[in-house]
Point group: C2
Chain length 224, copies 2
DNA sequence: CCCCGAGCAGACAGATCCGTCTGCTACCCT
DNA sequence: AGGGTAGCAGACGGATCTGTCTGCTCGGGG
C-alpha cells in the first residue's frame, strides 16, 4: 500500500528546515527539469534517481509510482503558476492593465532561454489515456479560462467569454511558438500587440495611462 | 544496409494500382492514426504491425527504422497540408479573403471530432533531440510562417510580419485548444473572430463583399 | 543503549520495445 | 516451368523501463 502522504504536520518528514532538501523535494526539482526539457515519457526513472541522488524506494514511498510523481510535478507547477499570476496581477490596478500585464509577463517568459512552452501542453501531447496528466491539465485549463473570463468581464468587454477565449488562444500560441520556433522575440511582440488590439477592440476606451513598475524574477520560468 | 527505396518508376513497387494497398501505404495509414491519436512514443512497432497487417521485415525494408517511419509520416502530412491549403486558398480571390479563409478552414477542422491538434506540435512535445521530428517540424514551421507573411504582405498589411505572427499564434492556439479543451466550437469562433479583428486592424478596408462557396471534405482532418 | 524509521544502494523480475534474422508463400516475368 | 522478389509470420537478442524487495547506514528518542 503506497502510504498516502498527506499527514505532514508542518515540516516535511525528516529534515526540511535547514538548507538540506529532502528526497521528495530533490526528486521534484529534478523531475521539473527533466520532464519539462525532454518530456515525461522520454525520461526514465533510473535517470531521475541518478540525477537527484535519491533511492528508488524513496520515490515509491513518496509518490506511489511514476504517474504519481508526474501528477505532483504538474500540481506543484499549477500551484506555482497560480502564485505567479497572482503576483503579476497584483502589480496592476485596472482590469485592462491586468489583462495586458499577463501578456507582458508572457513576453518576459518568452525572453527566458529556458522557456520550453507550457508544461501542460507538452505533457498532454504524450499522455496515455489513463494517466493523471489529463485530470490535472483539465483543472489547469479550467482555471486559466476562468481567469481570463473574469478579467474580461471586469474590463467590461462586450463579449467577455469571446475575448477570454481569444486571449487564451494567444497565450497557448505563444507557448507553442516558444518551443517550436526560433524567433521568440517576434512571437512575444506578436502576442502582446495582438492582445492589445483584441482588448481595445472589445472594451470601452481605458482611463488615462499610468505606467507600472515591471520587475521579474530570474528564476526558471513558470509560465505555461 | 537498409536499401534506400527511391527508384520507384511510376507505380508503387508491386501492386498499388488496383484497390489493394501495399504494405507501405497501410503502414503509413496506421501510423497516421495511431501516432496522431496516442503519440509517437506511446505506440510501439508491434502494435503498428498488428493493426496494419504488415510484416516487421517490410517496415524496416521500407523505412529503415522507426524514426524513418515517423519522418515519412510527418512528411506525408506536410505534403497533404500543402495541398489542402492550396485548395482552400484557391477558393478565394483577394488576399484578405484568403487569410480569413484559412481560419474558416480552422473552424471546419475544429468541428471535426477526430481533430486532435497539430501533428507537429504533438510530435515535437515528445521528440528526443536526435530524432528527425525536429527537422521536418522546422520545415513545416518555416513554410507556415512564409505562407502567412506572404498573404499579409499581399493584403497590404502595415506590418506584414507582425500580422503574420499574430495569425500564426491564433493558428497554433486553436490546435492546442482542440486537444486540451472541450469547448471546440468556442475556440473556433474565437480564432475566426480574432483573426478578423487583427486583419481589419492591420490592413486597409477591403473591397465590397462576395461570399464564396464553402465545401469541405469528410475525411480525416489534415490541419495542424 | 538500543531500536526504529528514513533514506541510500542495488539486485531482481516482468514487461515492453527496437531491430535482426530465418523460414515460408505467392506472384510476376522470362 | 523456374527463378527472383515482395511480402507475411514469428522467433530471438539486447536494451530499457517500471516496480518490488532485500540489505545497509545513520540519527534521534525512549
Amino acid at each position: 500500500m503506497p502510504k498516502s502522504r498527506s499527514s505532514g504536520p508542518e515540516t516535511r518528514p525528516t529534515e526540511a528546515v535547514g538548507g538540506e532538501r529532502g528526497p521528495r523535494q530533490r526528486l521534484l526539482e529534478t523531475a521539473d527539469r527533466l520532464f519539462y526539457d525532454e518530456g515525461v515519457h522520454v525520461v526514465g526513472i533510473d535517470r531521475l534517481l541518478d540525477e537527484s541522488g535519491v533511492a528508488k524506494a524513496s520515490l515509491y514511498a513518496h509518490f506511489g509510482n511514476k504517474d504519481g510523481l508526474v501528477r505532483v510535478y504538474l500540481e506543484e507547477h499549477f500551484e506555482a503558476r497560480r502564485e505567479h499570476v497572482a503576483e503579476v496581477l497584483s502589480r496592476y490596478a485596472t482590469p485592462r492593465e491586468r489583462l495586458l500585464g499577463l501578456f507582458s509577463d508572457v513576453e518576459d517568459a518568452l525572453a527566458h532561454p529556458m522557456f520550453q512552452g507550457c508544461r501542460f501542453v507538452n505533457a498532454s501531447a504524450e499522455a496515455r489515456p489513463g494517466e493523471s496528466v489529463g485530470a490535472v491539465t483539465d483543472e489547469y485549463r479550467t482555471w486559466l479560462r476562468t481567469l481570463f473570463t473574469d478579467l474580461a468581464r471586469a474590463a467590461k468587454a462586450k463579449n467577455p467569454r469571446r475575448l477570454a477565449r481569444q486571449l487564451a488562444l494567444l497565450y497557448d500560441g505563444a507557448a507553442v511558438a516558444a518551443r517550436l520556433d526560433q524567433d521568440r522575440a517576434g512571437a512575444a511582440d506578436a502576442a502582446r500587440s495582438a492582445a492589445t488590439a483584441l482588448v481595445d477592440a472589445s472594451t470601452p476606451p481605458p482611463a488615462p495611462p499610468a505606467t507600472p513598475a515591471k520587475g521579474s524574477s530570474p528564476k526558471r520560468p513558470t509560465s505555461g
